[in-house]
């Protein structure tokens, strides 16, 4: 998917993550901050990148502010932000396909 416009999903509440995506030209530029950086930073980064890859996002600036979200929440926030940026978040989501 191509990131068309800036979009944001999620909150800064505990156990959540706020994900912002913006159009970019130099691959995936990820900025990650997390309340559990030492024990889980590596895994959070991997989850975010895998999710973007599944959605075939090639170029984007991605800002993740993680407040201790579980992987399932991180995925949901990344996906929602990406679909919102393409104006496609309201219907016909590929559940079980690119979203899984």
């Amino acid at each position: 998917m191509e990131i068309l416009k800036p979009a944001i999903a999620g909150t800064l509440e505990s156990s959540d993550a706020q994900v912002t995506v913006e159009p970019g030209e130099r691959g995936i530029e990820l900025t990650l901050t997390s309340s559990v950086m030492n024990p889980y930073g590596r895994q959070i980064k991997a989850t975010v990148l895998e999710t973007l890859e599944r959605l075939e996002v090639k170029n984007a600036r991605v800002i993740v502010v993680d407040k201790g979200a579980l992987d399932c929440t991180l995925k949901a926030r990344v996906e929602c932000a990406v679909f919102r940026s393409c104006g496609q978040s309201a219907a016909n989501i590929p559940w079980g396909g690119a979203v899984r």
Partner: protein
């Protein structure tokens, strides 16, 4: 993906606890409180501009969290909104046990959702007929059409009244003796029993009024409800206490089930237990009591 067993149309549903599907901290383990069903809410709890985000959260919660034996139902948005079709798709794709139809007013409403569910089951390769349905009656029209709604589909396991909206339509407010919804509750119970499905009462929202809550739960039990919707885990224990059978009822039920089984082997249809005439018609009730007793930790035998 966590595989969930095929949903059981008639199972124990004393407590159904509402949870905002948009709140990761809440939905990750709502089952730990021991309610029979959790109701993940895409409707009123989710702001209009977060409906999309809630579906992504819901999908991943449904597919990654092991809810164990707790039933997972999703309340979808009303048929008059642009959201409900995608809600149905995500429920079926994620493997929810059932869908609660908000603001249901007619058998046609059930059919409309059922058709969308069936299409989604085909789209996502789920067994057709797997996803159960229940209806929330929130208007006078819904109550008047209760029987046609209850009997509209083989997927329907139950019906619930939604007090907030209903009372507004009826120009009333919650009363301590329940007079405000007495007729509606009665009508809905009649319809549910006539159609052979379960019937659930509305939420009690004033968490500070424990006395009022307890009175309402006792009245629910006395009227014959199967269970109640809840908004807070701390309400669960009392409902389970009230809906638990008495020790005497459990012993009696055990005797009846055993006697029916033993007499059936000998070809006897009618016989007496403790001086009372018993026949096969007593079996479902006695088995229900034993299942309830097992859920309450009062029965450990193997008759059910």
């Amino acid at each position: 993906m966590i595989p969930r067993p095929k949903p059981e149309r008639f199972r124990l549903r004393r407590t159904m606890m509402f949870m905002n599907a948009q709140k990761p901290g809440l939905i990750k383990d709502a089952y730990i409180y021991g309610c029979d069903s959790i109701m993940l809410d895409l409707e009123d709890a989710v702001a209009e501009n977060q409906k999309d985000a809630a579906r992504f959260s819901l999908y991943h919660a449904l597919t990654t969290i092991d809810y164990g034996g707790t039933e997972v139902i999703v309340r979808i948005n009303g048929l008059d909104t642009p959201h409900w079709r995608e809600d149905v798709r995500v429920c079926v794709a994620g493997g929810a046990d059932g869908i609660r139809i908000a603001k249901c007013e007619s058998a046609q409403d059930v059919h409309t959702v059922e058709q969308a569910v069936e299409e989604a089951e085909q789209e996502f390769g789920a067994e057709v007929g797997r996803t159960l349905l229940m209806a929330a009656l929130e208007s006078p029209k819904g109550i008047l059409n209760a029987y046609e709604i209850c009997s509209a589909s083989e997927r329907m396991f139950g019906v619930a009244i939604s007090g907030g909206d209903f009372r507004k339509c009826m120009q009333t407010t919650p009363q301590h003796d329940g007079i405000d919804m007495l007729f509606a509750r009665g009508q809905m119970l009649l319809a549910a029993r006539a159609a052979g499905i379960q019937c659930f009462d509305t939420v009690f929202t004033d968490l500070d009024d424990q006395e009022g809550f307890e009175a309402e739960v006792r009245q629910n039990k006395a009227m014959g409800f199967d269970g109640k919707s809840l908004i807070n885990p701390k309400q669960i224990r009392f409902v389970h206490e009230v809906f638990a059978p008495t020790e005497k009822e459990v012993i009696q039920a055990e005797k009846i089930v055993r006697a029916i089984k033993e007499n059936a082997e000998q070809g006897l249809g009618v016989f007496t237990v403790d001086g009372k005439m018993i026949d096969i018609a007593f079996l479902p009730g006695a088995e229900r009591t034993l299942r309830l007793a097992r859920a309450c930790g009062m029965y450990e035998g193997d008759l059910v």
